[in-house]
């Protein structure tokens, strides 16, 4: 029975090729636009590290002397002296302090490799375990190396390709500014989206090109103000780096992994306690107000998903509705033209349900074809988006399997929903009214 309706549907679509094409195109354009913008927005708001996002918290401390902002928010950075104190704790499973610098990187003796000024992530040894970075060669540095400010580095795959031709470079050395650093590990492709751990406005850019221990930055007095968000509300004692470190400048991003509620509460008590101790030393004069911000909350607070992308989705949905309304008009026209056929079928015994089934199948065909074509349009749209949003990570402009299936389903369902009325109307046709004229 259904295969018969399917045949009828194809026959009917072929009879009015222009109308059918128009309907399919309408659906496809609407679906294409919606899915293009939805993909970008969906990928933007995706959980970057689903298996542990509930256990990752950013530490925010109110070490200032007056209320910051509206009183509820805090800077997402903390001072170096607090960083030192927090790193002493053994409550978190992992804890990561991070900052960034820019350095001129070059090969030791191959003059053909032109030196580049690269972004360097400075961080503590837990970084690689906490954020589950995949390693191609070697590993991260040890806790001891981190403490000793060893001159070691983990390279991104791209940097390794550039500097060492993609070979296993563990143990090899390269020029880092004026010094020589040793490669200890090479990451495989690793592009968390959004790149939640760094500065919010960099969330859709690639991770930095290499990683060195946080203490190595401190020991060598490296600092690149442009790559750091720092809140300085009090002048440091003098111009030296040492007094910058002991100043009230907040510039270190600090993450902890707390596996359960107990660890969370324990750690909250620990940082509050730290604040109280500092208060007795004359710091934290404003109040005791320390926050452990869950990763997902942090992404919302810092507006990592841009309003523009949300707006684009809404516009595209309205666009789809216009396309579907248009399609609905076409369906009414189409079914109206088929009134004679319906009348005849009803007269020779087809029930209303039969008519509904027949037309629903015809519409499903239109919907699925529209969806598939829409998928193609969406891919073209994403290609265009890659050009337009060249400053965003290209990973945002890719559909995953759910989105691919979702696209076709959306086309099918929306065309059926909008086809419901025309179909029912057609099925209500009185056989007699059509038979009269025959």
């Amino acid at each position: 029975m259904y295969s018969y309706y399917f045949k009828l549907a194809l026959l009917s679509l072929r009879k009015t090729p222009l109308l059918s094409l128009l309907m399919v195109t309408m659906i496809a354009i609407g679906i294409g636009a919606t899915m293009t913008t939805y993909t970008v927005s969906y990928m933007m708001s995706k959980d970057p590290i689903p298996n542990k996002s509930a256990q990752l918290f950013q530490v925010q401390l109110d070490s200032m002397d007056e209320i910051y902002g509206d009183g509820k928010d805090l800077p997402y950075t903390i001072t170096y002296q607090d960083t030192q104190a927090l790193l002493e704790s053994d409550i978190p499973k992992y804890q990561v302090a991070l900052s960034a610098i820019q350095k001129k990187i070059s090969h030791e003796n191959n003059a053909h490799i032109i030196p580049k000024s690269l972004k360097v992530r400075t961080t503590t040894s837990d970084f690689f375990s906490m954020f589950e970075t995949p390693f191609l060669y070697g590993s991260g540095w040890s806790k001891q190396d981190g403490k000793d400010a060893a001159q070691v580095a983990v390279l991104s795959k791209e940097t390794n390709n550039w500097l060492f031709d993609g070979e296993n470079s563990v143990g090899k050395t390269f020029r880092f500014g004026a010094d020589t650093y040793q490669v200890i590990g090479v990451l495989n492709s690793w592009e968390p989206l959004p790149r939640f751990y760094g500065l919010p406005h960099e969330a859709y850019t690639k991770p930095h090109d290499l990683f060195i221990p946080f203490n190595t930055q401190i020991k060598n007095e490296f600092f690149t103000d442009k790559l750091v968000s720092s809140t300085c509300w009090q002048e440091s004692a003098d111009d030296s780096f040492a007094s910058f470190l002991t100043s009230e400048c907040m510039w270190v991003i600090f993450w902890v992994e707390l596996p359960d509620k107990q660890a969370h509460d324990q750690y909250q008590a620990f940082i509050d306690n730290h604040a109280k101790e500092q208060q007795s030393l004359g710091r934290f004069t404003n109040r005791i107000y320390n926050k452990l911000v869950p990763l997902k909350q942090y992404l919302i607070d810092e507006k990592v998903v841009s309003d523009d992308s949300k707006m684009a989705v809404w516009l595209a949905v309205l666009f789809l509705i216009v396309c579907l309304l248009n399609c609905m008009s076409l369906m009414i026209a189409k079914f109206h033209a088929k009134a004679g056929e319906v009348g005849l079928r009803r007269a020779v015994g087809a029930s209303k349900q039969d008519i509904i089934k027949q037309f629903a199948i015809e519409l499903s065909v239109v919907g699925v074809v529209g969806g598939l074509l829409g998928l193609l349009f969406a891919q073209l749209g994403l290609l265009a988006a890659k050009q337009t949003y060249s400053y965003l990570h290209s990973g945002l402009m890719q559909m995953n399997l759910q989105l691919l299936i979702g696209t076709v389903l959306l086309a099918l369902i929306s065309s059926l929903v909008f086809g419901l009325y025309p179909i029912i109307r057609a099925s209500q046709m009185q056989p007699s009214s059509q038979l009269k004229s025959l």
Binding site: M26, S236, D307
Partner: protein, 401 residues
């Protein structure tokens, strides 16, 4: 107008198809009006002048390596080199860049014991900055070389002379901005005498309400990431860009992070807005085309269904013009209903819309112009099928069913 009653009667009888079209027009109208308004708002934001000479200002970011000894001497060296390059008018160091997205900001007071009077962005530089940016001094005077202090960090905490933007002066003294001259502006508890006022200079964040409230202090900083502003003679841009690395890279530790025109910094700063404007434009064009299709299809369907009726009217003496008028009027009515629904929806949904999409409400004149544009669009779209309808021969009535 005699057609009005029969049209309304037909619409009443055949409600669904016209209702769909009206609804479609309502949605189109809402989206178009909002999108065009957003585009124009963004374009206005992007069009705001930075205050500097955009054609001939070059930004150089280089390092002052600790390995090379005293940073202040290195800074003076770099500036001497930059100024000596053929085609360079002037060069100055600066602590941040307009629209860079990174910068320093602070609260201002007129009296250290009273409330803040404003907040704004900060640049520390020297007496050459006005020339290096090509700024216009509208009151007071420039720094003297003797006013300039040099530090390695934290210039914001030093007491110094400052030049501010007119916008900031107007914010503090709305009635007479010249009053700001000679007064002290307090930030970070130190006084800063305002000796000059420049017409405009945007600070670091384009989205910030205080982007035009800028302070230039007479404190230049010499540090690891050193920014220079270079004013170049017209048409010498390319040769200066080429000459800078040759001249500035004097030793192995020296590195240049970037050399680019200030206009590039600005474009990068607005890249999101520019991209969104592109997207909105595509949506507008797409919607317009789809809606024209809708109107066309609807008209064709109507006419084909009423071929006989039209023929009868013609046979009974209606002129071609009357047939055309009938369908044009019908379309105008449906479109107007659609626009009306659109305006109503816009008013009712405005608050939710504004909140949900963080849009600003569309002003009334936009709604009005949008309404006229959509009605015209409908008339144009319907023109072709209607001209076909007028060609229907009266003889068609004589043919059998």
């Amino acid at each position: 107008m005699r057609d009005l009653i029969p049209i309304l009667k037909t619409l009443k009888k055949q409600k669904v198809a016209p209702a769909l079209l009206a609804f479609q027009i309502a949605v189109t109208f809402m989206v178009l009006v909002n999108a065009i308004y957003m585009i124009s708002e963004r374009s206005d934001l992007i069009a705001r002048p930075v205050g500097a000479n955009m054609e001939n200002t070059l930004i150089v970011i280089a390092n002052l390596p600790n390995e090379q000894g005293d940073l202040t001497i290195q800074l003076e060296n770099d500036l001497t080199i930059l100024k000596s390059i053929y085609g360079v008018v002037n060069a100055a160091p600066i602590t941040g860049l307009p629209l860079e997205g990174w910068g320093l900001y602070m609260d201002f007071k007129l009296d250290p014991n009273e409330e803040d009077v404003a907040y704004g962005g900060y640049f520390g530089s020297n007496e050459n900055l006005i020339d290096a940016f090509g700024l216009t001094l509208v009151a007071g005077e420039n720094f003297l070389p003797s006013d300039i202090q040099t530090v390695e960090n934290d210039g914001i905490f030093k007491s110094s002379k400052v030049i501010i933007t007119k916008a900031l002066a107007e914010k503090i003294f709305p009635d007479n901005w010249r009053e700001m001259l000679g007064k002290s502006l307090y930030y970070h508890k130190e006084p800063h005498e305002v000796i000059g006022i420049v017409d405009k200079l945007q600070n670091a964040w384009n989205f910030w309400s205080a982007v035009e409230y800028t302070v230039i202090s007479a404190v230049q900083e010499a540090n690891d990431t050193q920014r220079y502003v270079v004013q170049v003679e017209p048409s010498q841009m390319a040769s200066v860009i080429e000459a800078i690395p040759e001249k500035l890279l004097t030793h192995p530790y020296k590195q240049i992070d970037s050399i680019e025109a200030l206009s590039e910094v600005k474009t990068r700063s607005y890249q999101e807005d520019l991209a969104t404007n592109k997207l909105l434009t595509v949506v507008c064009i797409g919607l317009t085309i789809i809606t024209i299709f809708g109107i066309l299809g609807q008209a064709k369907f109507n006419i084909s269904r009423r071929t006989k009726q039209i023929g009868t009217r013609r046979a009974l003496g209606a002129s071609k013009l009357q047939v055309i008028r009938y369908f044009m009027l019908e379309n105008a009515i449906i479109t107007t209903i659609g626009v009306f629904i659109g305006i109503l929806a816009a008013i009712i949904l405005n608050n939710q819309f504004v909140e949900l999409l963080s849009l600003s409400p569309v002003p009334a004149n936009f709604l009005f112009l949008g309404a006229i544009a959509i009605i015209l669009l409908g008339q144009i779209a319907v023109a072709y099928p209607v001209s076909q309808a007028a060609k229907i021969s009266p003889a068609i009535t004589t043919r059998g069913a």
